[in-house]
Every structure is written in structure tokens, then in C-alpha cells.
Point group: C2
Chain length 174, copies 2
DNA sequence: GTCTATACCCGGATAGAC
DNA sequence: GTCTATCCGGGTATAGAC
């Protein structure tokens, strides 16, 4: 067996990569992916997309794998837990729709680049000092803060910096 | 002006109440509301629904208002923060789709029964000792934990009781 | 191989007849 | 109060032209 006989994910053709790039753009700009509008964007008809990728879930999986690695790089650059929290929030606010694709709903793990999810998670685990329960609590706090902010759940005058500081200080004792 | 001249929400007719009850059932059982299947459930055609309620968002808003009050009653019964956390998680696990309707995405506040959202939030604020930053951090933690659990984001062998305990202990110092 | 046209099924919603 | 007919928007499968 050759090394790239891996089933997940199938290696993408150059044309498929172009489609995925356009889909990422569409997601960022429109907030969702529509196969029909994605085809418009590329100047082709919707069914043509299916010659390059098996369907919408495959397009999403490719975006997810890429974005996990992108996010991981930013998280790895953080030196302190406070920086990690800030990096996490910044990524979510800069790419809200991509954030939701990565962290909301069930993850199609079978379709993802192996290791991509784990690499994004690693900095959080490290910051928790190796305690998995604490790491999960910190992750849940950050995820909850980001989603509540993206979903406009906090009052307009809420001091979110202070809430982040309060949470991180309590959870990690910084 | 009479007391019930309130614009939000419009008082529902008995028939509309029946429709909303059926929609709640559908949401719990199927995980989503479809106006077509909702009509099937009631033995009528989809367009007939629109004679009683203006559309799907109105159906959802009625369910949300009811469910906020339902959840509030359960949260108010909690005596300690540990109990409140347990009550929060239990509600989410018993009614996962309703939970998402209540707490995920933008809330159609204009359509809701006034005060319903605030009443569900009050016990959390009280448990935080009146500190709004801390209350937001606790809420974010609980929301994140619940969503990550519902979305199957934790490993199967994760000890979620321990993660809840770790988070609540840190955040409130119990 | 790459595209197109067509069509199917699902969804929410509206107009107008009974 | 309910109906039928209809529109628009999705994802996607198939057939066939180039």
C-alpha cells in the first residue's frame, strides 16, 4: 500500500481545491454554502461541481480540515493562557461562520484530515497543565463565551473582556 | 390602553395553541419543525397553518416563550450552585432540541413573552452573587459544556461529571 | 473528462376558491 | 377553516452533448 492510500480524506484534484477555496470565500461572505450559488461563483452549473467533489459534506469537510490547521497555528503562537484565550476569541470573531463550521454541530470526523482536530485542541490541553477535566472546563468556557457573543446573547453594555478575565482567572488561577 | 394590548406576543387562539403544542412534540421527536409535516400531524394541509399563525418563526417563538418559563421553574428549585448546574444540564439532556432553540442562535426577542428570558436567567445571576462578569462566565461555561456534550465533542470516555465539578468549583469556589 | 439540461424531492410561503 | 394550485429556494441524481 502506498502512503497516500489513506481513505480519509481523498486527495483533492487541483480543480477540487479551487472549488473548496471558492466555497470558503462564500462561507465567509454569505455565511453559508449553497452548491448552486457556489457554481455561479465559479461560472459553471451546479451539477458540474459533483464531478469534482461528491457533495456538499465533502466541501465542508475540506474547509474544516484546512481551518483546523489554520486555527492550530494561531493557538500554538500563544505564550500564556490569557493569550490563548485572546487568540481563540479573535479567530472566532474574524471568521464567525468558519468557527461555527469547526465547533458547532457534529463533526464529520471520518472525512477530515487525520490529526487536524487534535492539533487545534493540543494547545488548550497543554495550557490546562495536562488535567483533562480542567482542559474540558476551559474549552467549554471559551466555546460558550464565543458562541454567546456571536449569537448576540449578551447585553450590549456587557464587559466581555471582564467576563473573559473572570473566567480564565478562576479556571486557571492566573 | 387595555393591559393586554401588548404587541408581543399576540395572544394565541385556542387552535393556534394546539398547533404550537403539536410543533413542540414534533421538535422533541424529530429534532426540527417542518410546517408541512406539522400539518400532516394535525391532519390538515400546510397552507391552513398560516390562517392561525403567521409563519414558522411565530411557531418557534411561542415554543421558546413557554420553554423559558418551564426551564426557569426548574432552575429556581435549585438550592445550591451545584444543583443549578445539574438542573441546567438535565434540562438540556432531556430536551436537547428545545435547548438549542432556546440558547442557540439569535433570539427573536420581539416575538417573545416579555420577561420569559430574564426569568430563566435570574437564578444564574443570583448564584453568581450579583457579579455580572462572573455570572456571564458561569453561564458560558455551562452553555459550552452542554453544547459540547450534545454535539458529541468530548471523547466517549470523558468524565463529564468531573469536568462540571472542576469548572463550577473554580468559577464559584464552592 | 468536462460540462449542460432536466428533473426529483424537500422546504417555506402566498393567492384565491369553497 | 380548509382546500388546491403555485412560486421560489435548496441539494442532488441522471442523461447526454462536446
Amino acid at each position: 500500500m502506498s502512503p497516500d492510500s489513506a481513505v480519509n480524506p481523498p486527495t483533492l484534484s487541483p480543480r477540487a481545491r479551487e472549488i473548496v477555496a471558492a466555497a470558503r470565500e462564500q462561507l465567509e461572505q454569505e455565511g453559508e454554502i449553497s452548491m448552486r450559488r457556489l457554481a455561479d461563483r465559479l461560472g459553471i452549473k451546479a451539477p458540474s461541481l459533483y464531478k469534482h467533489l461528491p457533495g456538499k459534506p465533502a466541501v465542508e469537510a475540506a474547509i474544516i480540515s484546512d481551518a483546523f490547521l489554520e486555527a492550530a497555528e494561531r493557538f500554538e503562537a500563544a505564550q500564556t493562557l490569557r493569550e490563548l484565550g485572546a487568540a481563540y476569541r479573535a479567530f472566532a470573531l474574524e471568521h464567525p461562520h468558519v468557527y461555527r463550521l469547526l465547533f458547532q454541530g457534529r463533526l464529520p470526523r471520518e472525512r477530515l484530515t487525520p490529526g487536524a482536530e487534535a492539533r487545534a485542541a493540543a494547545p488548550v490541553i497543554a495550557a490546562a497543565g495536562g488535567d483533562p477535566d480542567r482542559a474540558r472546563a476551559i474549552f467549554a468556557f471559551a466555546h460558550g463565551m464565543v458562541l454567546l457573543e456571536l449569537d448576540d446573547r449578551f447585553p450590549d453594555d456587557a464587559d466581555l473582556e471582564a467576563a473573559w478575565a473572570a473566567g480564565l482567572q478562576s479556571l486557571v488561577g492566573v
